[in-house]
Symmetry: D2
Subunit: 286 residues, 4 copies
């Protein structure tokens, strides 16, 4: 279906008349065949968001001129615009600690071709999952972190990210809090999975807290990592029913399936360039 | 929010370049402020669908000239286009038999102002729910139907619909099959609720069949009525988990909540002019 | 099915060997035919919970001797035991303010016979819903509350509850906080609906908070009212997916359907004597 | 928690007084500490079902005498009773073709210790997934099947099952129909995953059919394999919402997550000895 490469524009700007018209007119003038167009107006914020995807085959502008030419329209409407190409394979690093269900799931998707990214390296603060990395033939880097050496180890990690030209970091149950400095290097490019239905049960041991509170539904949340722990823009959430019969152990076991699917959906949406962040919220196009 | 009246265009046409551009350009040229725009391309069918809503306030064309002026664009792109105004209150008839949960729910929504329609008449083949109609001050018409007088009674019903200028018929667990002739008078304007997850368990007693088959989830389906029983275009479905502990009685009891919410969502989407039918399927805009 | 009256025992006690055996042996010795038996052991707390229902027809003990005779077993196992009869119709008061969707739903269920209770009185701090009470032929009592007269008005309300012999109070979006003193009169017999997925978004305007936080799922929670606002034992919760397209208005509209169904399920479970409270949590038997 | 071994009885018999009492009395007399007890009465069928699990530590009967001693009670109540021990690790064979998402998921669970079974062999009619088997160090047996050699190849497969002492066969998207003869060797011990919400869309290409019908929800079903294709007793089902925007390709992609979780839940329930089959339905204890 989408065998041929396409271009994607992600646009946000103040709401005003004529934006859709301006963008679609631009594409039509250069003979662009729109595959998908989705827009959203947040009337409360007076903000406009749009994702448009069109075939590169037959498009009159070469790739390296699109940004420049579209810049005229972007400027006129005070747009922030991101341009992506569907045939670019982002480079993704996975950070893990000891729990393996999320990384198992991500690697299986990558292995079967469902995950449109390269995964050149797995980073961990524990040696446990090295053999799993090996099974899949992916580099494994152990970077242990103590209170004392945290800054240095993060610097080392950052160096590693540069070395591997990493676009996206996925925290697949990584049990270390990244510093603001580290996060600042990857704005909206670090995705975390938290094992609760945020904002309920922030912090450690959310299944224990959920059990303690006696909730009838538990959840998992995937979000971009910001300097505020568990407070970043939410990309995806999912929940399931539980009962008084579910022990904490059971919640943890069942919850793993939530975590896996929520994280993988968030990563998928990000890799499809379907996520826009504004005011600590996300627009996730369909 | 949408206190002011708006206009809505529902468009379907063969997929081709420049449609979004043509429509948005038309609106911009007449100073139309777009409130909402959603489009869908079915690449398999080569079909394009669009719903666009814009403010009438400030729009340069008077209402009665919109269709004509837009006709030029519609013709050029072989569009089928429907024009609606948000301040038109459709006139809705509810057909019932003996079960009252769905009509109770519809009337409560109407009573609280959630349902943007007038309900001038309730039609039934049983006298049971006359007092309910009275509670809400709505005309109740008993039209009993036997095998012998079906054609005549349907003609009478049809006459009633004309008399009350009915736009939309809602079958709220109406236990009579409408003839093709009757249905032909209201294409995509009769909404039914079926108490199963179609296409599973068509026909009578679906909860019994579901129980018999031992399914772990049951559902309800709302669809437009066509000449093929339970085969019309599906507008909305919802499901819930059940277990071996749920007797048929329990399925029936729990299922009522599904039926209510599924029917009301379908009616709501229809009244918001968010539903387009093609090839026995629906596009339900968000 | 359950046309004949049955007896229900709700039991909680420290976990120990032989409890199920002791209870079922007691019933068998008096020729009791068990209709339903459900038990739960909380191994962390070392606590045991059980609900057993049996036919009164053929049972060798008259109703008024069951408690006494069972007391011997209860004492031996340090049980707290409640005895209920299925043919007792609890008397339920509904408290409302201005929003009517929950009470509409409860009254419809009562009207169709789904709600196994009498509803002799509706209490409100606003006059708005008097006509709705009248439609259903139920007494309506306006008890306006100001900061100054709160204690006196609650005393008056309490008097009213006694006058009507109320067993259960349902707060159907009642926008007044009941004092601890008032609540102490109805331990585990006041059910509230909160329009969020607790413990997320306690307090006022939860849909606004949910929108602000950008969650992808919203919920509703029904719980027993205790002295801690929004902190009582949760009986039932339900959620639904939302997107960035859902304005606060939309969340409020869609959320009404959650609130209705969650509240009605909680009331139903309570009326079926299926809820046991311990440590601020509930056991809700199936 | 359940570090120590436990015994599990799965019982079905005609409904009658005193069964729970008889079973719990038996356990108490031999000093058995009940960990979990769940019972279900199907009043329509007059059938009784029970699962009881108790600690072996401290139980007065040695394992090999339990069946015999319990036989007296079983006979008196015409029970069919299965006895299992929690520390027995069933031996499971996975059958696959080309799709790998389900087997990937099962193997990951096995690898992390979530799946309480040994997986000595993977059988396939295609060579594609041999490398995956190798990654996990599991024997891979290619048994290609044509119309002509089906009987012989099934015989060979059966021989393999004996050789590996297989208790349970899991069809993880195995695209071959097993003959009645083969199935008869593993009654209620072959679990299949079907990629639709049965009984909707039996047979091949269910996602295409679902798309064609325009359903708003799709599902997956796990069931025991019987001689009637797609008609065996359902163990577990799950669904997800879809819209008109979901192409068939999208349904297939999203559906994989349903298939994985539904199959793994069914396998888990089976391995926990929580499933009883009667009249082509299942009782799945909690």
């Amino acid at each position: 279906m989408k065998n041929e490469a396409s271009a994607i524009l992600l646009i946000s700007c103040p709401d005003q008349q004529g934006i859709v018209c301006a963008v679609t007119d631009f594409l039509m003038r250069h003979n662009g065949n729109i595959i998908d167009l989705e827009q959203h107006t947040d009337t409360e914020e007076g903000a406009f968001f749009m994702r448009v995807e069109w075939e590169l085959d037959g498009f009159a502008l070469p790739r390296d001129q699109i940004s420049e030419k579209f810049g005229l329209i972007a400027d006129r409407h005070q747009m922030k615009a991101e341009l992506h190409f569907s045939d670019y394979r982002p480079r993704m690093a996975i950070f893990v600690s000891k729990f393996s269900h999320c990384i198992h799931d991500l690697l299986a998707r990558w292995h079967t071709g469902e995950c449109n990214a390269d995964i050149p390296v797995i980073v961990s603060n524990h040696p446990d999952l090295e053999s799993l990395a090996k099974m899949y033939g992916i580099d494994f880097r152990l970077i242990e972190i103590t209170k004392e050496d945290k800054a240095a180890q993060e610097e080392k990690t950052l160096e590693l990210m540069r070395e591997y030209s990493i676009d996206l970091i996925v925290l697949a149950r990584y049990m270390q809090i990244l510093s603001n400095d580290f996060c600042a290097n990857f704005p909206n490019r670090i995705i975390n999975i938290h094992h609760s239905f945020l904002p309920a049960f922030v912090g450690a041991k959310p299944y224990h807290s959920a059990h303690q509170r006696g909730v009838k539904i538990v959840g998992a949340t995937s979000h971009y990592v910001t300097s505020d722990l568990d407070e970043g823009p939410i990309i995806e959430q999912e929940v399931m029913r539980v009962t008084h019969k579910d022990s904490v152990e059971n919640l943890i076991r069942k919850g793993r399936d939530l975590e896996k699917v929520v994280l993988s959906r968030a990563v998928w949406a990000h890799l499809q360039n379907k996520v826009l962040v504004y005011k600590n919220r996300t627009v996730v196009f369909n």
